[in-house]
């Protein structure tokens, strides 16, 4: 089974100009473990908001690839986001859902994806045609090859990962600092 840390490190290795938003919990730690970067925006709360924040950012910066990296539980809380995002369909937005089938932050309770919910099918049903499930390294490599391209079209990639918890790597929890740093990296006045 795919290791979440390996998957995220591989996807971000060739990120180039990509802007990254992380969903709270393990996805935030995975991205931090791959290397802190001013172009990462880490969520520590606002559960259900990661993909939607990616939408607003992708619309604001159509010249840059925007990659949301989140977990199944976080995406389930904002499941209507797929419908909202499908209507806008920004070509520079990639939503990666690391699906371990459980809520790792709260004691490992089984999530709905362990109970039959197929998030890629939900995304397709909401109108995101390029929604797929990846279960092997070849799929990860295929995604990594195009992660830095801002013209790939809106896509949702659900990646099945090993439920084993990885050691925590904690990025800054100071939201105002992370925001200002990100905006400065884009040349904006914070």
């Amino acid at each position: 089974m795919l290791d979440r840390r390996d998957v995220v490190a591989r996807l971000l290795k060739d990120r180039d100009e990509a802007l990254v938003i992380t969903g709270l919990g393990a996805a935030t730690y995975d991205v931090a473990a791959a290397g802190d970067d001013a172009r990462n925006f880490y969520l520590w709360g606002a559960m259900g908001g990661a993909a939607l924040m990616g939408l607003g950012l992708a619309l604001a910066r159509p010249d840059r690839p925007v990659v949301v990296i989140t977990g199944d539980g976080e995406q389930l809380m904002g499941i209507g986001a797929f419908a909202t995002i499908a209507v806008q369909a920004p070509a520079n937005l990639t939503i990666v859902v690391l699906d371990n089938g459980l809520y790792g932050e709260t004691g490992g309770q089984r999530s709905h994806t362990s109970g039959g919910t197929d998030l890629a099918a939900v995304a397709r049903g909401c109108g995101i045609a390029a929604a797929s499930r990846v279960t092997d390294q070849a799929g990860v490599e295929a995604l990594a090859a195009t992660i830095a391209k801002p013209t790939c079209g809106l896509r949702v990639v659900v990646i099945a990962v090993d439920p084993t918890e990885a050691p925590r790597v904690l990025p800054s929890r100071d939201g105002a600092y992370v925001r200002g740093r990100f905006q400065a990296a884009l040349g904006l006045a914070a």
Binding site: A46, G49, L52, T84, G175, R179
Partner: protein
């Protein structure tokens, strides 16, 4: 003839809001469909410099606008008072990160409301925003809408504040079935 121009006809208040949003360079307009905002929503959809973003629930808009601000674009959230309670947790994004936030809220449940289900949230709208540190301004007369939206927009887009403008049900007119 004294050469003075005739006084311009007063804009309808939704058109006055649209003019303010244009003046402030608002690019992303997230909304949950609402009768009070219907005219404004139509105008936004017809305006090529604005992106109309229909939402499935109000709190989505807070995350979308935070992303817009992160990328340097201005946005606004249009909704009805009944949706304000949905926003409470997502507003932690605004509060924790200091994102600018502007919401224009049409009120239900406060003036000639026939539907009692609108009253619980309509009577606690300001308090719900207050819970999360969002400042509230109000307009109850058509002639005060433009200046109220302009004052809020300045606080948000120049000062980085979080402000909601409540558009009173007396202004909008109670819904009639």
């Amino acid at each position: 003839m004294d050469g003075s121009a005739p006084a311009p006809a007063a804009l309808a208040w939704p058109d006055a809001i649209f003019a303010e949003l244009q003046r402030w360079g608002v690019r992303q307009v997230a909304y949950v469909p609402d009768g009070g905002h219907a005219r404004l929503i139509r105008a936004v959809h017809a305006e090529p410099t604005m992106r109309a973003i229909p939402l499935t629930t109000e709190e989505e808009g807070i995350a979308v606008l935070a992303g817009a601000a992160l990328g340097g674009q201005r946005g606004v959230l249009l909704m009805q008072s009944s949706g304000v309670g949905n926003c409470v947790n997502m507003l932690s994004l605004v509060k924790s990160c200091g994102f600018p936030f502007l919401a224009l809220v049409t009120m239900r449940g406060e003036w000639g409301e026939f539907n009692p289900w609108q009253v619980p949230m309509g009577s606690t709208t300001e308090a719900a925003f207050g819970l999360m540190g969002v400042g509230v301004r109000r307009a109850d007369r058509a002639e005060e809408v433009a200046e109220t939206v302009a004052a809020a927009a300045r606080m948000v887009f120049e000062g980085g504040s979080a402000v909601a403008v409540l558009l009173g049900q007396r202004l909008i007119g109670a819904k009639v079935f």
